[in-house]
């Protein structure tokens, strides 16, 4: 006998918990299913920055209100308490692989002098964020089930039933897919067939103490290259919210059979121009992740399943987009049930909102530049980055993070033409290809779900 709910939410990350809290507040009968045993323990790599304090992101201008300790989404019109720790950071520094040069996105001294007014944003504790949402969800009567690995989805007589690996069934008028980047529900709905696959991202990292980067309260971003494959390897060193002396350190990039990002990270720490940062460093704990890169879902709705957060997006909607979509989906379902329209028409409000704020306001292909940025190779990338000697404005928006860098490089075109016509030819060749062609090898070595 399966249990009956108004809505069954699969996945208790930021999108699913937000949806659960709101559906609970609206008085719906809610089941929230999470695969992990503990919702608030996070082992996956996550940079845990609040995107975005400085500009529009999914049509929102989210920020952190330090006094009332609330995350504020003024355009969508909601805010949630966040009582956990956080660390300000002020710039983003992109280092060439030889460690001799960095592109400075943001003026470190000037920004830092302004304190929290000058920060780019904060890194936060995802554990604490999820803990707060979970306690709100529970206080609003949400039924929480952990250790539930959803493997099946059936639709009969207008009722959706999700089935776990152990054979437990949860039935509801609506389902919310909040099961993240590698969403199983997207696959069960056959929606991934309509998406373009761009490869698989992998990464590994440590929380470390005793790290000593050039700009302590910054995102330090050495761009290394894997020796055998020539693939770009992104290194992140950023303040961790879990301790004044702690850093989040990460190495990641596209999957390649010969590329082990943990080895790359260890190489960066022990045997690279950046090793000096880690002389006295100690590992506190480890993290890692694998994420498939897809074009966005063609729709945020199928068979009474509402798709939220990363499940239907390209790599990541970030916490910002995830929480907004969870909230909007839950309100739409409440409205549909209240209106006695348990169907697509009933939740049209969510569909229109998603279309406007997700594909309508963000170009997912811009996100792919994070991957394609280093495809010209180590030599060309190092040369080009060294040309950028001005302090550039910084954006925390991954969709246009590299736009300012590219614009600064464009200004140097006459010099490049003179010194390195070979690089111009390489860039032109890459630029003339569709992104699918540029990413051909990455796509081939990825594994889609």
């Amino acid at each position: 006998m399966s249990e009956q709910y108004d809505v069954v939410i699969v996945g208790a990350g930021p999108a699913g918990l937000m949806a659960a809290k709101v559906a609970g507040e609206n008085g719906l009968k809610v089941a929230l299913l999470e695969r992990k045993e503990s919702i608030t323990s996070i082992q996956r790599s996550c940079a845990t920055m609040f995107a975005i304090e400085d500009e529009s992101y999914f049509g929102e201008r989210m920020y952190f209100n330090e006094e009332q300790k609330r995350l504020v989404f003024p355009v969508t019109g909601f805010s949630i308490p966040y009582e956990g720790p956080y660390r300000n950071f002020y710039t983003w520094n992109v280092y060439t692989s030889d460690g001799k040069h960095s592109i400075k996105l943001g003026d470190y001294d000037a920004n830092q002098a302004k304190g929290s007014k000058g920060r780019l944003s904060v890194t936060y504790s995802k554990q604490e964020l999820l803990k707060g949402l979970l306690s709100d969800a529970r206080a609003n009567g949400v039924n929480v089930f952990t250790g539930m690995n959803v493997v099946g989805l059936k639709r009969d007589n207008g009722i959706n039933t999700v089935i776990t690996a152990e054979g437990r069934k949860f039935s509801g008028t609506f389902t919310i897919a909040a099961d993240g980047i590698n969403s199983r529900l997207m696959k069960l709905l056959d929606l991934n067939k309509e998406r373009i696959f761009y490869g698989t991202l992998q990464g590994a990292g440590y929380y470390m103490t005793g790290v000593d980067p050039e700009f302590p309260e910054s995102i330090n971003f050495p761009q290394l290259f894997h020796k055998a494959s020539g693939y770009p390897v992104m290194i992140w060193v950023e303040p961790s919210p879990y301790g004044e002396d702690e850093y989040w350190v990460y190495a990641g990039g596209p999957t390649h059979p010969e590329l082990n990002y943990k080895d790359e990270l260890d190489r960066c720490i022990n045997d690279s121009p950046f090793s000096g940062w880690f002389k006295n460093a100690e590992i506190v704990r480890e993290h890692g992740h694998v994420a498939n890169i897809w074009s966005p879902s063609p729709t945020p709705f199928k068979d009474n399943v509402l798709i939220t957060g990363d499940a239907g997006w390209t790599v990541e909607a970030e916490c910002t987009g995830s929480m907004m979509s969870g909230l909007k989906a839950a309100h739409a379902i409440s409205e549909a049930i209240r209106d006695n329209q348990p169907n697509k028409e009933g939740v049209q409000n969510y569909i229109s909102w998603w279309e406007k704020h997700f594909p309508g306001s963000m170009d997912y292909k811009e996100f792919l530049t994070v991957m394609t940025g280093g495809l010209a190779g180590e030599d060309a990338t190092t040369y080009l980055h060294k040309l950028v000697d001005e302090i550039l404005p910084c954006s925390l928006n991954p969709y246009n993070l590299f736009n300012n860098v590219n614009a600064a490089i464009m200004k140097k075109m006459p010099q490049i033409q003179k010194e390195r016509p070979d690089i111009i030819a390489k860039l032109q060749a890459l630029g003339g290809m569709p992104v699918e062609e540029q990413m051909k090898d990455i796509i081939r070595s990825g594994f889609s779900n």
Partner: protein, 450 residues
């Protein structure tokens, strides 16, 4: 002197929701209220939520009984209300003789349980204290006993003064209600059409013998110099109701309207014979056409300040919440130096949803009906033609649509039986300025309103 990010004037439903939004957003907010106790209500108010079974200003109000929250599902916000709620299962208009024009029959709508309710009766004093608590928890500075008498606008802010205090802010949200002084001082009223006053007296009563105790009732007195109205609103306490007597014409003595219903008209006198008055209230308000642009030099109008008489509590809450968020977005946008979009989001909503989405003339028609059908016997006759109930409704805009369809359906009968009424009905399609012409003349403004 402290400069606030935003000054909110008026701590009714609109002002409280606005202040809660800006406070939560971290804006330095001060909320000013003229009364010395925000949670005490002495103005007449029906204390119902419009509308429980239909969209109102594009939103659907939701009451979560277990979680004790009132929510707005389309805009996506909710707040705690831990007071009592009573379902209102229908709205019925009664003629002098007791013929009914029923927007729903409670015996039918109650088959749908809670979902059959057309409106929800609640206790406004409890609602105000619940909202006030959330406002205070959001870090808002609340100052009671401030009667704002003047405003001053300059390039980057607004100052207000009154009751020997003054306050300066980057933005001002005027939520000072239907007779808004700020709207007048800032020149918002200049382009508005003045229709009349709405005067009322309210009585909290016990011991009424009503045809049903869970329906909203309205009726009309044709015996006074101009029409008088009676509204009976269920209260969420056993055996209680709010009874209101209203008029659009200051020549009407409301105590005569009260006597008409409570003593003189034998049909209604039965309802009141064992009744007892627990408490009294009153109100006087302007009826204007809506302000078309609710934003002027960093002043935003929210709630009834810019509306045609009233947005109802639900509309006031939505607009207050929206205005607060708009100012929060605008302040944030100003800080990071990007194009300010926040305020225009609010202005667009006001214009698209309220001004253009809900015709204010339809709203006024609810009161103008006895100016069209201007004899008690004619009204008895028309109500008597309602063989089937009209769709269940507690929404002044929706009701006029249903009424229009009903009138269409009975025109052949009227043409046959009472051709003398036909010319009167033609008046229904005239502009409200024409329908209320005489009344407007009778309403000499008691304060310079421009």
């Amino acid at each position: 002197m402290t400069k606030y990010d935003v000054i909110v004037v008026g701590a009714g439903p609109a002002g409280l929701l606005a202040a809660r939004s800006t406070g939560r957003a971290g804006l330095k907010t001060v909320l000013l209220e003229r009364k010395s106790d925000i949670t005490r209500l002495d103005r007449m108010c029906g204390q119902t939520l419009v509308s429980a079974n239909d969209y109102y200003f594009d939103d659907l109000v939701n009451y979560n009984r277990e979680g004790k929250r009132i929510g707005f599902l389309n805009n996506g916000f909710s707040f705690n209300y831990d007071g009592p709620v009573k379902n209102c299962m229908a709205w019925q208009i009664f003629s002098p003789k007791g013929n009914r024009l029923p927007f729903g029959l409670p015996e039918e709508t109650s088959k749908k349980g809670d979902n059959g309710a057309v409106g929800l009766a609640y206790d406004k004093e409890i609602l105000l204290s619940c909202l006030l608590k959330e406002v205070k928890d959001s870090g808002v500075e609340v100052v009671e006993g401030i009667d704002v008498a003047s405003i001053e606008q300059d390039g980057d802010g607004v100052s207000v003064a009154g009751s020997d205090r003054s306050f300066t802010g980057s933005y001002l949200i005027a939520a000072d209600g239907t007779n808004s002084r700020i709207a007048r001082l800032a020149g918002f009223n200049r382009d508005r059409t003045f229709y009349c006053y709405l005067l009322s007296r309210g009585f909290r009563m016990q011991g009424l013998h009503l045809p049903a105790d869970d329906i909203l009732i309205s009726s009309i007195c044709f015996d006074t110099v101009a029409p008088g109205y009676m509204f009976i609103f269920p209260r969420p306490y056993a055996g209680e109701a709010n009874v209101a007597f209203l008029t659009l014409d200051p020549r009407v003595d409301l105590s005569l309207v009260k006597d008409y219903f409570m003593k003189q008209n034998p049909y209604y006198a039965e309802w009141f014979k064992d009744s007892k008055i627990m408490d009294q209230s009153a109100s006087a308000q302007y009826v204007f056409s809506p302000v078309t642009d609710p934003n002027k030099h960093r002043i935003l109008l929210a709630g009834d300040t810019g509306s045609c008489q009233e947005l109802e509590n639900t509309g006031a809450m939505i607009s207050g919440w929206k205005a607060g968020n708009a100012v929060a977005a605008a302040v944030k946008e100003g800080q990071v130096g990007i194009e300010a979009k926040g305020i225009s989001d609010y202005v667009n909503w006001w214009q698209d949803v309220y001004v253009n989405g809900y015709r204010h003339e339809d709203y006024i028609m609810n009161f103008a009906l006895p100016y069209v059908i201007d004899k008690g016997e004619d009204f008895d006759y028309i109500c008597g033609l309602a063989k089937d109930p009209l769709p269940p409704c507690w929404n002044p805009y929706g009701a006029i649509g249903h009424l229009g369809q009903f009138m269409q359906s009975i025109i052949p009968t009227i043409q046959k039986e009472r051709p003398d009424i036909m010319p009167k009905l033609a008046k229904m399609s005239e502009p409200m300025t024409k329908v209320l012409e005489e009344t407007t003349k009778a309403c000499e403004p008691f304060e310079e309103f421009e």
